[in-house]
Amino acid sequence: MTDVIDLRPDPDEAEPSSVEESTLESDQEDEVTDPAASLKRRRIILAVIASLVVLVAADAVIGAAVHAEHQRHLAAEFAIPTEELAVGDAAFVLQIPALGVNEVVVEGASASELRGGPGRRLDSVQPGDSGNTVIQGHKTRFGGPFGQLKDLKGGNSIYLRSRSGEVTVYKVTKVRTVGSDQVKYLEFAGPNRLTLVSSAGGPLDGSRVVVTAAADDLSASNENAVETAVKDAVPSAASEEDTAPIQTYDVRGIGGAVLLLTGIGLIAVGVLVGFDLRKRYGWGAVLLVAGSSVALGVILLLFNISMVVPTTY
């Protein structure tokens, strides 16, 4: 009466998996007709969609937190007067009362600098000098400090205060939406002016909002000030020839691309290894090893996705 328990795999039960495997390799007609395969496929699609949603949500939350945290530290740094600035340093405070913008601007406008707030392009001039001061900022990601840039109107005032306490005032003269190839607004030669740049469209839209503001130089009401300014304001034929071409709105580096690929690789490795770990060691191992790998990959992805989307998105 003793029941014999056969621990050997049932050859009949093995068939579905072999059928399933064969189904994956079969033609489309077979896939549609197989409910198990369809369910699995649906789960994969749902997982991808869920991952994207989580990614976007994480981007919004983590990005905003990173921006806020950077701004707080930059504000503390800004309180220390200095005139020698390195890339990433707090350079000046930008205030646009019409939009409620009150941000510490950093030196440099690459993807890494823009995470902390708006950044001054290093190929533009310092505020107050003759020429074009260009500040780029995010429209949506990392707190979106320039999200409302397109709402600026002619005559709106923009204030910049340097770490040495000098305030430069500008008046908005033009708000444009331009294509990614229209980079003439970044030219640094010419009269003292300010150009604010952000993205105009979605994550895959390269168009930009470009706000041009002319200097509102009240101190130029004496003759000497004008005499000095005049020399630099109107470009001569020689200076036009010397003007270097402006490259692009997006300031990207190879380092970001490497990190982006690394992030994607870590996520893929984590997922692949995770299946194997679950079978062998259970969920604890999955969370410990694969989870860490995926988390690190997600962070790298979020912080370097600007290699794909516009730097100012």
Partner: protein, 620 residues
């Protein structure tokens, strides 16, 4: 017995219960203090963590920004006239004029030193490009018909020297008698005439000595027959040049290049200069002393007899400069009214000043009257220097129109309205009163262009400012009541008026009346949106708090002639510069850090406590 035992037990139990209750109360009371302290500490910690940290706000408000009008020296008087007319209108933008040369005015607009510019020369290609770099282009509105004249400090008439010499001789030798010739001596009263050849000799620095040139002297003797002859200085007449690039230099250069091409070309070739006069260049021949702007140049001419050391040219040679008829007339008047001795007791040497007559294209000798300027511009449909070469009877040869150059964006709605009001006022009231400033009348074709430009300035800037335009004739907020009535309904930017006072303490002088108007632009107004009548462009119901005018100095030129920055404009107080950020500076708010620190600290405490319990160091 049993009942008693039960009763005792019950009593003991009750007592025990009461004791327990008592002990509990005591226990509760004894734990109240530490718990309260704990709660207080917790509250403090929470407050420390959550309490906002705000950086020191800049409490001083930003100063109101004015509409800054960069005017040429030639257009200063009309600008002041308009300023005096609108100064006490509530709700209007506070305006301020900054005088300079044409090129400087345009540069101020480009570099942000001014909101609009007045200039006789149009924007050059480079200037246009520079302005476009700031996101703007310009709209031109002609507002003033101006003529250029030559103010001449002449050499002394011979007779005066002779008489002085004779009087001195009589004092030394009483037996000497006054020679009868001396009685014929009189001052040369003009008119002093200059041909284009004379001007070329002086301003192109030729070696010809005009005061010894028979042709030149013949022009003077023509109206002084039989009497006066001039002292013949050894040096040629000097030109006091304008170092501010603009229309005066361009007009003279164009005039000489057209009327004296040989002399112009020879001189240009000799110095390897571009023979074409440029609108943004100063006078190319710079051996003569150059002065910054009209007031300085006129001032040097006025002080010619005593200023030889300062200008490095012997005073006896005489000098001339380019000026407006108004400034020339005022300089002559001021010279005539100068007291014989100054405050220190030194004698004031009067300079003999003349406004030269010139010959126009029709061959007439003319003075720079408002009628002559009007005639020239009307004949040329606004073209500059038209009567210099064309046959225009009665037309002053050196006439042109000064224009307002306003940006097509970047002005607020109020500023756009103010500029439009200025243009419309100059095209109506200012045009009618132009002769009082020795200016001509802007021809009809330019008036039409100016009024069209005013509409364009309003529509383009109003849209850019996110506002809407309206057609209305009720514009008392931007122009004195009734002054623009003849234009009917005009285009304005519909801007709300918040009634907030804007006080400008600078004086405004009406060149017509000489009245120094106490400038109180901030008025207790109840007009516009604040009155509930929805008349944002109107200030008719406003009550000026201090609108009384006190009559002061009427002299527009005497005070302004010696200033470097343009006369009355220089006497205005400096603009209060908005150098304070409008919002508090971003603060390094540490709340997140504090909360994170607390959370981490709490977690560490729990972890360590759990470990210690497991290891038996502390009891559960």
């Amino acid at each position: 017995m049993a009942k008693e035992v039960v009763t005792r037990n019950t009593t003991a139990m009750q007592q025990a219960g009461q004791a327990m209750k008592k002990n509990k109360k005591i226990g509760a009371r004894s734990g109240l203090l530490p718990r309260g302290m704990l709660a207080a500490v917790a509250a403090l910690v929470l407050a420390w963590a959550v309490a906002p940290f705000v950086a020191g706000a800049q409490t001083d408000p930003a100063e109101p920004v004015e509409l800054r009008v960069a005017v040429t020296h030639e257009s200063l008087a009309p600008a002041l006239t308009w300023l005096g007319a609108v100064k006490n209108i509530p709700g209007s933008t506070t305006a301020r004029q900054i005088a300079g040369g044409d090129a400087q005015s345009k540069e101020r607009l480009i570099t942000g030193g001014a909101d609009i510019a007045v200039s006789g020369t149009p924007f050059t290609e480079a200037e246009t490009k520079a302005l476009e770099a700031t996101g703007r282009s310009v709209i031109e509105a002609p507002i003033q018909a101006v003529g250029m004249s030559f103010l001449v400090s002449g050499p002394r008439p011979t007779g005066i020297d002779l008489c002085q010499f004779v009087e001195q001789s009589i004092e030394d030798d009483p037996l000497n008698e006054l020679p009868p010739d001396c009685l014929k001596v009189r001052d040369f009263e003009g008119p002093l005439r200059l041909t284009s050849e004379n001007l070329a000799d002086v301003f192109l620095e030729s070696s010809v000595n005009n005061w010894q040139d028979p042709g030149f002297l013949a022009l003077l003797a023509e109206l002084q027959p039989g009497g006066l002859s001039m002292v013949s200085p050894l040096r040629p007449a000097s030109a006091v040049l304008r170092s501010d690039a603009g229309m005066p230099n361009l007009a003279l250069g164009t005039y000489l290049r057209t009327t004296q091409p040989a002399k112009w070309s020879t001189r240009s070739a000799g110095l390897f200069l571009n023979p074409e006069p440029a609108p943004d260049a100063t006078w190319p021949f710079t051996r003569a002393p150059a002065k910054q702007g009209l007031p300085d140049a006129v001032g040097v001419i006025r002080q010619w007899k005593t200023a030889s050391a300062a200008v490095d040219v012997p005073a006896e040679s005489g000098a001339m400069t380019m000026t407006t008829p108004l400034a020339a007339a005022q300089a002559i008047q001021a010279e005539a009214e100068e007291p014989p001795f100054d405050a220190t007791g030194e004698a004031n040497l009067n300079t003999d000043l003349y406004v030269a007559q010139m010959k126009n294209g029709a061959g007439e000798w003319l003075s720079p009257t408002p009628t002559a300027i009007t005639t020239s511009l009307a004949a040329g449909q606004g073209a500059p220097l038209f009567a210099a070469t064309q046959n225009v009877p009665g037309g002053w040869p050196l006439s042109w129109a000064n224009s307002i150059y306003a940006p097509d964006s970047g002005l607020t709605g109020v500023e756009a309205n103010t500029v439009a009001a200025l243009i419309r006022w100059q095209s109506t009231v200012g045009r009618q009163r132009s002769a009082e400033l020795s200016d001509g009348q802007v021809p009809d074709v330019l008036v039409k262009r100016a009024l069209s430009a005013a509409d364009k300035i309003v529509s383009s800037n109003c849209t850019a400012a996110g506002l809407k335009t309206v057609l209305t004739s009720d514009v008392t907020r931007f122009a004195p009541a009734g002054t623009l009535a003849e234009l009917g309904e005009t285009l304005w930017c519909d801007t709300p008026y918040d009634g907030s006072p804007v006080v400008d303490e600078g004086p405004a002088v009406d060149p017509f009346t000489g009245a120094v108007v106490p400038v109180v632009a901030g008025i207790s107004a109840s007009s516009g949106s604040t009155s509930g009548t929805n008349r944002p462009l109107s200030a008719s119901s406003a009550t000026p708090s201090s609108a009384s005018a006190t009559v002061g100095s009427a002299d527009l030129s005497t005070e302004s002639a010696n200033t470097a920055t343009g006369g009355i404009a220089a006497s205005l107080p400096p603009v209060k510069v908005a150098r304070i950020m409008p919002l508090p500076l971003p603060g390094s708010d540490p709340r997140f850090d504090r909360l994170a620190t607390l959370a981490l600290g709490g977690l560490m405490f729990l972890g360590v406590r759990a470990l210690m319990r497991r290891s038996g160091l502390i009891s559960a």
